[in-house]
Symmetry: C2
Subunit: 202 residues, 2 copies
DNA sequence: CTAGGCCCATGACGGATGTCATGGGTGACT
DNA sequence: AGTCACCCATGACATCCGTCATGGGCCTAG
């Protein structure tokens, strides 16, 4: 009895390489590969996958959102997040979304197969260092609007640009930004926005 | 007679996966793996590698810089850049650094082995789409100082912060920024900095 | 030698930005 | 009913930022 896997990663090379890596294990079988987040649920259903390996950054749909969709879909398919960025906030969001595991891409290759098996067995798999960081770090202190304006501020847009995109007055945008900067401890919108992103709070 | 390969990528999982993928080919053999740029030349020498697969973003030393070092070292080791970002400027810099190939990480996995063989045979391997973009796009129009200040501006630092880090007067920093913004077509230092980064000009 | 490009710096000006005080509206919880 | 947090908005103020003009020093190409 083999474990049926689905791989979701936007980089075809990484996807293929992971497939090759996992195919070395006798009890694992890659039954589907997709490069977009919005194709995962469909593919998981038709391929009857047991475990989905999900990258976070994908076109179409966020890996974390995919995990939530899979959870809701009610297929018996568990999800394991495999991502580049070990942002504390991502872990929290992943587990809230119903993901069963969270692995960073710089963990040794030999541990991946074990992680997959543990997830399939119904256990939770979490990067220990990241878990500690996540417990230590506080929860997201930002309000919805603060997140909105910070997201727009990331690219260096001016206040009026942001205001136009969020349909707010310029003054209101500056208030939200100022408030966010107070919480995040930066002296510039962009600094604050980057700080928020590093925490996975965007 | 097999082709001896060295893999350099900071993400252990990707490194291992690529190793598994390439090990499927009979004529290829992975003889070394490193996770830092500054360990490549040493490892290439002792392992007598024929071809190095280099990621660009690595701690210690830039993949492009590694390619240059390998070229200068005079070992018979060619380098193939394997990277996430298809910035036009990266291709140019890679070829100037003496790299023999440039592959983006979202090319199909099946093509990687061929790329390696072509590089080993002394041929140049370039992503066609990227080559076209690189030919169309102009060369880096930024001066040294403009690059310096833009690099610092990326994170959203204030003018005085940048001035302190680059050991310049605040006014001079603003002049360089203004000049760069004129060339890059943004209305904010951060916009301009991001534009420059997208082109691989930083 | 001269022209041109890059570098550094200063001063000035208008507009953008960050901060603060203030006020009104909503919904949640006690 | 009252409190509190969040939302939106406005006005005012000091500072920061982007732009422009100007000038001097350095180097290279003509």
């Amino acid at each position: 009895m083999t474990i049926r896997l689905l791989l979701a990663d936007d980089q075809a090379l990484v996807r293929g390489a992971l497939a090759a890596l996992l195919a070395l294990e006798d009890d694992l079988e890659v039954v589907a590969q997709v490069g977009r987040g919005d194709e995962v649920v469909e593919a998981a259903r038709t391929s009857r996958a047991d475990v989905c390996l999900l990258d976070i950054e994908m076109p179409g749909l966020d890996g974390l959102a995919v995990a939530a969709s899979l959870h809701e879909a009610g297929i018996g398919c568990r999800s394991l997040i495999v991502t580049t960025f070990g942002r504390p906030g991502y872990l929290r969001k992943a587990l809230e979304s119903g993901a069963s595991g969270f692995v960073v891409k710089d963990t040794p290759a030999t541990e991946l197969a074990d992680a997959v098996r543990r997830v399939h067995a119904g256990l939770r798999v979490v990067d220990p260092a990241l878990a500690a960081e996540s417990l230590a770090g506080a929860a997201n202190p930002l309000t919805d609007r603060e997140r909105d304006v910070l997201r727009e501020a990331l690219g260096g847009a001016s206040v009026s640009d942001i205001a136009a995109r969020v349909h707010l007055s310029g003054g209101t945008v500056r208030n939200h930004l100022s408030s966010a900067m107070g919480k995040l401890g930066g002296s510039t919108r962009v600094e604050a926005a980057h700080a928020a992103e590093r925490q996975g709070w965007l």
